[in-house]
């Protein structure tokens, strides 16, 4: 007789795989990629392709060196490649893109043991590395007109709100441009609309929950209001949207439970406001998330779900 499989129950499983989840994220990042190409043209095309290619190739190389199975088709390196491209300046030279993206994969992910084992968000590790090593290239911003200029948050930090307003003319025009992404900044961070569309897809597919984005953005909203600043400006500019929707929601580097996710968002929100208000940088999303990544094990430890039957409240 033909041999039967024997294993413990359950004997059926969901159709979903890690690969599905990863490609869902790639789909969700597509609107932001399209927006970046729309606003920054060939610069975007070249940064994104170099970044994705470097990420995939370096992952394959490391897996070969470590004599592991090459698993680039799971899509996770593609995600890191895209995310890294979306958080760097549009005019970043190709060789810096290559270095940054490879560092993301090798230092950010593979040295920890690959997908699922990394502590920090890989793309942000690469970005932090470049910011420390090539600070000028990492802060040379192009406007959507192709000219070099300051970002909204940079102007706000150095010259104040009046100068920000004069960049746009009216407040309404400012909000609209920020929402659509018609401003200078990192490739994919500028269009809140495109990012929200993508995040909506992930939410619909149940790959992310509302907890991190709402607590993160909500905290920034409340704190910047308390500091007497324009909260909408802070939410729509800089990397907060892409950070809150795509970086801080990364399954691997965020807490397990809803309660943990709320704390994670709260902490990141406090940090980013702190850096923007009191720190030396005009922007702090990257560091706020990296720091919170580091405390995830601690958060997980103190936010275990309530066990069924744990509290006797029947008597």
């Amino acid at each position: 007789m033909k041999k039967l499989f024997v294993s413990p129950s359950p004997h059926i499983r969901t159709k979903e795989t890690v690969k599905n989840i990863m490609w869902d994220v790639v789909i969700a990042l597509t609107p932001a990629m399209i927006a970046s190409i729309y606003f920054f043209g060939m610069n975007a095309v070249s940064v994104i392709s170099v970044s994705v290619l470097s990420a995939v190739v370096s992952e394959a190389l490391v897996q070969k060196l470590m004599k592991r199975k090459v698993k680039i088709s799971d899509g996770s390196a593609v995600i890191t490649g895209i995310l890294f491209a979306l958080v760097v300046p549009p005019a970043l030279p190709w060789w810096l893109t290559m270095i940054g993206s490879s560092v993301s994969i090798i230092i950010g992910k593979m040295v920890f043991g690959g997908l699922g084992h990394n502590v920090f968000n890989p793309a942000l590790v690469g970005r932090a590395f470049l910011t420390a090593s090539w600070p000028v290239a990492m802060t040379t911003w192009l406007g959507t007109d192709g000219k070099v200029g300051a970002t909204v948050l940079g102007t706000l930090k150095q010259q104040g709100m009046d100068n920000v307003l004069s960049m746009f003319g009216t407040k309404g025009k400012m909000y609209l441009d920020l929402f659509l992404g018609n401003v200078g900044g990192s490739l994919g961070e500028t269009s809140a609309l495109a990012l929200l569309l993508g995040a909506g897809y992930l939410f619909y597919k149940k790959q992310i929950t509302w907890h991190v984005p709402v607590s993160y953005i909500g905290t920034v909203f409340v704190l910047t209001t308390l500091f007497g600043q324009d909260p909408l400006l802070h939410i729509l500019s800089g990397g907060l949207m892409i950070g809150a929707l795509f970086m801080a929601t990364d399954m691997v580097t965020s807490p397990y439970t809803a309660k943990g996710k709320l704390i994670f968002g709260l902490g990141a929100g406090i940090l980013v406001t702190w850096i923007r208000m009191k720190g030396g940088y005009p922007e702090g999303v990257c560091y706020s998330i990296l720091i919170m990544n580091g405390v995830v094990p601690l958060i997980d430890r103190y936010t275990r779900p309530r066990v069924f039957g744990e509290v006797k409240n029947n008597g």
């Binding site: 039967l4 499989f5 129950s9 004997h11 969901t14 275990r304 066990v307 069924f308 039957g309």
Partner: protein, 438 residues
């Protein structure tokens, strides 16, 4: 119309009940030989009280045990005991088994039923239920007489009848509710009488609307019995989950339902109680669903205890090339078999012959901390931690993550996109901890 819901976690796999939900119960022929295993229930296995060469009748007691948690075992055919030895056992490995050759005469023991059970002492009714070998029909096979006799210091107010049948594929309880509901309701009344209470609730999932309507119609004249409709979600049929869903009472960790004033019984167990008390018939047969993509004509069959799977599979038509896994019970908690030689037990609610597309086996990947296992866990546990700790043999640490509260429903393993061996780690961890305490 109020619909009750599973309060915490759970999954909703493809139901696959349509294969057999409209198939009326068919009586499966008594086999040439029955293989009656000595462990038909949770607790102490029985010891044979017959020897090779003895002639037995249907319903004759052939094994028993003096242990508290145990139940006697009866012959399901009339004929001659031809062998007593070890034989493949569907729960694990092998078990002492009595093999009886059927003489096809269908000779029964003399049956003595009790028409007016209310005039009989409750202790005596419990003794009859035990003596007739009645055990839970839901799969866990706990001796019914013990469950109907809760500790005296616990006040019971509700008998919760479990008709959830939350396992995909299975329709045995569903068909019992459709075809044997009259006896079932009488059985419930007997159990209420024994417990000395006046409230029974039958919990049924809303994917069995016909059964719900049928039972509702029949209990119009029964003031003590009501139906609770449950939104279909696995593992709603878990005792603690069902109590929480229907009564919003939470059984404390490591405690039994009696702690919150509830006794839970499977619906088909009520039929077994009715047969034992009113007709005097011991538990010698049961209804089970034979289904799966490798089965040509899936059916619901009334089968004698001790019938080998092989014969049943042949009867319903088995595609042996297609069958990759043979399971006793449902796909979520059932037990995979290494051979179709194994016999049915008192707790065999289904036989599944599953093909490739149903098993959907994939490679195991690294945990990506998606937390889905935590979301679906009906007990509020963190299954991913068990897999992580299990790899380092941190059994004690697993216990601190409330390992012992796990009901092994398999929801975590079902949902895991990385196909991590979560339930496996849990089962190993529990076994290790039990051994450490010995």
């Amino acid at each position: 119309m109020k619909v009750f819901k599973l309060r915490k976690g759970g999954v909703h796999p493809p139901e696959n009940k349509a294969l057999t939900e409209d198939k009326a119960i068919e009586i499966f022929r008594a086999p040439e030989k029955v293989y009656i295993s000595m462990a038909q229930h949770i607790g102490a296995p029985g010891e044979p009280i017959v020897k090779v060469g003895d002639e037995v009748k249907i319903g004759q007691k052939i094994a028993g045990s003096g242990a508290f948690v145990s139940a006697p075992i009866h012959s399901s055919v009339s004929g001659k005991v031809i062998k007593i030895g070890t034989y493949p056992y569907p729960v694990n490995g092998e078990m002492k088994t009595i093999i009886i050759e059927n003489n096809k005469k269908e000779e029964w023991i003399e049956l003595e039923g009790i028409k007016d059970y209310k005039s009989v002492d409750k202790k005596e009714l419990l003794d009859i239920i035990r003596d007739k070998g009645v055990v839970g029909q839901g799969g866990a096979t706990f001796p019914t007489s013990i469950k109907l006799n809760p500790p005296k210091d616990k006040t019971i107010d509700t008998l919760l009848m479990n008709g959830a049948e939350c396992e995909p594929y299975l329709n045995a309880d569903n068909r019992m509710m459709l075809e044997k509901a009259e006896d079932m309701i009488e059985g419930i009344k007997i159990m209420l009488h024994i417990l000395g209470i006046k409230k029974a609730i039958i919990g049924i999932e809303d994917n069995k609307l016909k059964a719900i309507q049928h039972i509702k119609e029949l209990i119009k004249k029964e003031p003590m019995i009501t139906v609770a409709i449950l939104k279909t979600q696995y593992p709603q049929g878990g005792e603690k989950q069902l109590i929480k869903a229907v009564l919003n009472r939470e059984v404390p960790s490591k405690a039994l339902p009696a702690e919150v004033g509830v006794v839970v019984q499977n619906v088909a167990t009520a039929n077994a109680v009715y047969d034992a008390i009113v007709k005097g018939i011991p538990l010698i047969e049961r209804v089970l669903t034979v289904t799966g993509s490798a089965i040509k004509n899936p059916k619901n069959l009334l089968v004698r205890i001790g019938t080998r799977f092989e014969e049943i599979l042949e009867y319903v038509g088995i595609d042996k090339e297609k069958m990759q896994k043979l399971v006793m019970g449902g796909p979520m908690m059932g037990i995979a078999q290494y051979t179709s030689e194994v016999p049915t037990l008192k707790g065999t609610s289904g036989i599944l012959a599953l093909g490739k597309e149903e098993l959907n086996r994939t490679e195991t990947e690294s945990c990506i901390s998606c937390g889905k296992c935590i979301t679906v866990c009906p007990m509020g546990l963190m299954p991913l931690m068990f897999a992580k700790l299990g790899r380092f043999e941190e059994w004690k640490e697993m216990e601190r993550y409330n390992l012992m509260d796990c009901i092994e429903c398999g929801s975590c393993s079902y949902i895991c996109p990385a196909n991590r061996p979560l339930t496996e780690a849990i089962k190993i961890g529990k076994a290790k901890l039990r051994n450490m305490k010995k």
